[in-house]
C-alpha cells in the first residue's frame, strides 16, 4: 500500500479524539521537557567538572618526580622537576618533541600558612606562568577586583587570592599579606605579597583556600630556582593520554638516571572522579529512557484502547486486502505524529528553560545549603545547544514510536473474521 495514503489516514485518525491525542502528546511533552532540561543540566555540570578537574588537578598527563607520588599529600617541594643538568625547561624541550602534545605548563602547587592576628590559616598556593597558562586556565578572566599579578622583581611581590578568602580575612586588592611556607630546602620561608587582584572561580574550595603567584615569585619564596613541582601536559586529544604517557616515559628512560614519570589522568585520583561523572552521565541516559517509557505507557494504553475501539475497522481494512505490515504502519504513523507533536512541544519548553538557566545559572550552593567540597562550581550553567534539543526530540519520538509496535503488531495479527464476527 502507498505510504502517503497510510500517513493521511493516520493523520486523520489522531484527530478523531482530540482530547485523548492531546493527553498522549502532553505526557510525551512533559517527559521530553524533563529530559531536555536534565540533559542540559547534566551536560553543563559535566563540562564544569571536566573543566575544573583538567584545568587544576590532573591535566591530560602530569609529569612529576617519581617519588612525589608517594608523598603527594604532604606536597613535598624537594621532590620536584629540576631538569637533567640545568633546569626544568630541559624536560619541556623533551616533551615538545612528542606528537600530540599541545601545551606543557610548568606549575608548582604548595602549602602555605597565613598568619592573621595570631590565627593560622592553611592555604594552597598555585605558582604558574600566566602567559603559558592562559589558553588552558585563564586566571586573568576570573579576576573580579584589581588586576593580574606582575612577574617577580625586587620589591614587586604580587599575589591573586580567592574571593571568599579575601572576604574572610578582610582584605582587598592593594592590601598586603605575609605567607609562611616550608621551602624546597626544608627551611622556613616567608614573603609579604601585595594583593594585586581577587579571583572567583565559583568553586568554594578554590575561592576559600587558593592563591596564585607567578613562578618567578615562587622561585624566590620556595627556593626553587629552575625547579617546578609538575609539568601539566595538555594534548590534542585527551583520550590519547595513556599512549602519549607511554611515549613520554619511553623518552624519559633514554635519559640516564631518570627521576620523572608521566602520569595520565585516568590513573589519577581526580581522574577517577571525572570518570565517575562520565559513568553518572551514562546512568542518566538510562534514567531518561525510563522517564520517556513511563510517558509512553500513556501512548501504549491509548493505542490499545484505539485498537479495541476500531476493531471492526481493522477487520474491514484487512478484509479489503490491507496487509499486516500496512496495519502496523498505520498505528506506527499515528504514534509518530503524536510523539513528534509532544516531543516538539517538550523540546521547545525544555529548551527555553535550559536557555534561560544557561544565562542565569543555577546556584547549587544555595539549593543544597553549600558546604560541598566537590570539583564543581557553586553556580552551574546548563548547556544549551542544538545537539541537546535534537537529542531530546529524537529520543522522545524514537522511544514512543518503538513502544507502539507491541500493540500495533497485535492489531495486525487479528484475524479479519474475528474482528468482524457477526458483521460478515
Amino acid at each position: 500500500m502507498k505510504s502517503g495514503y497510510i500517513y493521511r489516514m493516520a493523520f486523520r485518525n489522531i484527530s478523531r479524539n482530540k482530547k485523548r491525542t492531546a493527553l498522549s502528546a502532553f505526557a510525551i511533552a512533559m517527559a521530553v521537557m524533563i529530559v531536555c532540561f536534565m540533559k542540559s543540566y547534566t551536560t553543563g555540570l559535566f563540562n564544569n567538572v571536566k573543566n575544573n578537574v583538567f584545568s587544576f588537578e590532573t591535566a591530560h598527563v602530569k609529569v612529576i618526580n617519581k617519588d612525589y607520588l608517594k608523598e603527594e599529600k604532604l606536597m613535598p617541594l624537594d621532590l620536584n622537576i629540576y631538569g637533567y643538568e640545568n633546569n626544568y625547561n630541559e624536560v619541556i624541550d623533551l616533551l615538545k618533541k612528542i606528537e600530540g602534545i599541545k601545551y606543557v605548563l610548568p606549575r608548582t602547587k604548595f602549602g602555605a600558612i597565613l598568619n592573621l592576628n595570631g590565627k593560622m590559616k592553611n592555604l594552597v598556593g598555585f605558582a604558574l606562568d600566566q602567559k603559558l597558562e592562559y589558553p588552558v586556565n585563564p586566571l586573568k578572566d576570573k579576576i573580579i577586583a584589581g588586576r593580574m599579578f606582575n612577574e617577580y622583581s625586587p620589591g614587586v611581590q604580587e599575589i591573586v587570592i580567592g574571593e571568599i578568602l579575601a572576604r574572610e580575612i578582610g582584605v582587598k586588592s592593594g592590601d598586603k599579606i605575609t605567607l609562611m611556607t616550608k621551602t624546597a630546602e626544608d627551611g622556613l620561608g616567608h614573603m609579604t605579597f601585595k594583593i594585586s587582584g581577587i579571583s572567583s572561580y565559583g568553586i568554594s574550595e578554590f575561592d576559600k583556600t587558593y592563591f596564585y603567584i607567578p613562578l618567578s615569585a615562587a622561585a624566590k619564596f620556595l627556593k626553587m630556582e629552575n625547579e617546578v613541582i609538575e609539568l601539566a601536559v595538555y594534548l590534542d586529544n585527551m583520550h590519547r593520554s595513556i599512549p602519549v604517557s607511554k611515549k613520554i616515559n619511553e623518552q624519559f628512560y633514554t635519559q640516564q638516571a631518570n627521576p620523572y614519570i608521566a602520569y595520565p589522568w585516568e590513573y589519577q585520583k581526580d581522574g577517577q572522579y571525572y570518570k565517575m561523572f562520565v559513568t553518572l552521565t551514562k546512568t542518566y541516559d538510562i534514567i531518561f529512557i525510563g522517564i520517556i517509557f513511563l510517558a509512553c505507557l500513556v501512548i501504549i494504553n491509548t493505542t490499545m484502547m484505539v485498537i479495541y475501539e476500531r476493531m471492526k475497522e481493522i477487520g474491514t481494512i484487512a478484509a479489503l486486502g490491507m496487509r499486516g505490515t500496512a496495519i502496523i504502519k498505520l498505528f506506527f504513523y499515528e504514534s509518530v505524529i503524536i510523539s513528534a507533536m509532544g516531543s516538539f512541544t517538550g523540546t521547545v519548553i525544555g529548551g527555553a528553560i535550559s536557555l534561560y538557566l544557561s544565562i542565569t545559572g543555577i546556584n547549587i550552593a544555595k539549593l543544597t545549603g553549600g558546604g560541598m567540597n566537590l570539583q564543581f562550581s557553586e553556580i552551574v550553567y546548563p548547556r544549551f545547544g542544538l545537539d541537546i534539543l535534537l537529542y531530546s526530540f529524537i529520543f522522545g519520538v524514537l522511544i514512543s514510536s518503538v513502544c507502539v509496535f507491541i500493540p500495533a503488531t497485535k492489531a495486525a495479527k487479528i484475524e479479519p473474521a474475528e474482528a468482524m464476527r457477526g458483521i460478515l
Binding site: 500500500m1 479489503l320 486486502g321 496487509r323 500496512a326 458483521i423 460478515l424
Partner: protein, 231 residues
C-alpha cells in the same frame, strides 16, 4: 473454471471447552456472472460460509478454491493480496472508514494495489462513484451521507477494483425497502454489465427475488440449491 469451489468444507469453532460445528460437509461452486443468495435462519451458517469464501477465515476440513487457488495453502499476506485482487465486500453496516471521504473510501482499495498510478486510481474511483449515482457527493464523509448513499459507496468500493467476486452480507438489512430495492437494482445492473459474480446472504424476500440462484442453509448444511433455475 468456477470462481468459487467448495469441496466437503466444514468449519468448527471452539467456544470455551465445547466445539460448535458451524458448517458441515458443504460442497458447492459458483460460476462467473452468478447472482446468488444464501438464505437461512440466524445461526444457519450463512456468515460463516461467506467468511470462508471471502478468505477471512480458514476451513477446518475440506478444500476451498478461489479462482483455482487452494486457500488453505496460503499465508496471511497472500490471502490479503488475494482478497485485494479478487474479492469485493459489501457489509450490512456499510463499514466505511469514517475519516475518509466517499471518494477516498473508494480510492483506498485501489491504493492497496501497488502498481496502479495515482491519477489512474482517481479516475477509476470518480467513474465508479458516478456509476453508482454519487456524482457531486464524492467529498462527503460517511457521516454526511444517508444509509442508502453509504451503501452505494460500499458497492463502489467493492466494484472499483473489478474483482471476480463480490460478497454481500445482508446488504439491504439496514436500509428502508425503497432504498434496498434501488441498491439491489444497482447491483443487478452492474452484475449484468460487468459479469461480476455476486453472492449474498439475506433474509430479505426482495433480495431473493433478484437472485438467480438461491441456496438454503440450515444447521450448517445445504438443504436446497436451485442451481440458478427459478421455479
Amino acid at each position: 473454471m468456477p470462481i468459487v469451489e467448495c469441496n466437503n468444507v466444514s468449519k468448527e469453532y471452539k467456544v470455551g471447552a465445547s466445539v460448535v460445528s458451524a458448517l458441515k460437509d458443504i460442497s458447492l461452486s459458483f460460476e462467473k456472472g452468478e447472482f446468488s443468495a444464501i438464505v437461512g435462519p440466524s445461526g444457519s451458517g450463512k456468515s460463516t460460509l461467506l467468511n470462508l469464501i471471502g478468505c477471512l477465515d480458514k476451513v477446518t476440513e475440506g478444500n476451498l478454491k478461489i479462482n483455482g487457488i487452494l486457500i488453505k495453502e496460503q499465508n496471511k499476506t497472500l490471502l490479503a493480496d488475494l482478497r485485494c485482487e479478487n474479492i469485493g465486500f459489501v457489509f450490512q453496516t456499510f463499514n466505511l472508514i469514517p475519516v475518509l471521504s466517499a471518494f477516498e473510501n473508494v480510492n483506498f482499495v485501489l491504493s492497496l494495489k501497488k502498481n496502479l498510478p495515482e491519477n489512474e486510481c482517481a479516475e477509476k474511483s470518480m467513474k465508479i462513484l458516478e456509476e453508482v449515482g454519487l456524482k457531486g457527493l464524492e467529498n462527503r464523509k460517511p457521516s454526511e451521507l444517508s444509509g442508502g448513499q453509504q451503501q452505494r459507496v460500499a458497492i463502489a468500493r467493492a466494484l472499483v477494483k473489478e474483482p471476480a467476486l463480490i460478497l454481500a452480507d445482508e446488504p439491504t438489512a439496514n436500509l428502508d425497502s425503497k432504498t434496498g430495492e434501488d441498491i439491489m437494482a444497482l447491483m443487478k445492473d452492474l452484475n449484468m454489465k460487468k459479469q461480476t459474480t455476486f453472492i449474498f446472504s439475506t433474509h430479505d424476500k426482495m433480495v431473493m427475488d433478484y437472485a438467480t440462484r438461491i441456496i438454503n442453509l440450515r444447521d450448517g448444511m445445504i438443504t436446497s440449491d436451485n442451481g440458478g433455475k427459478k421455479s
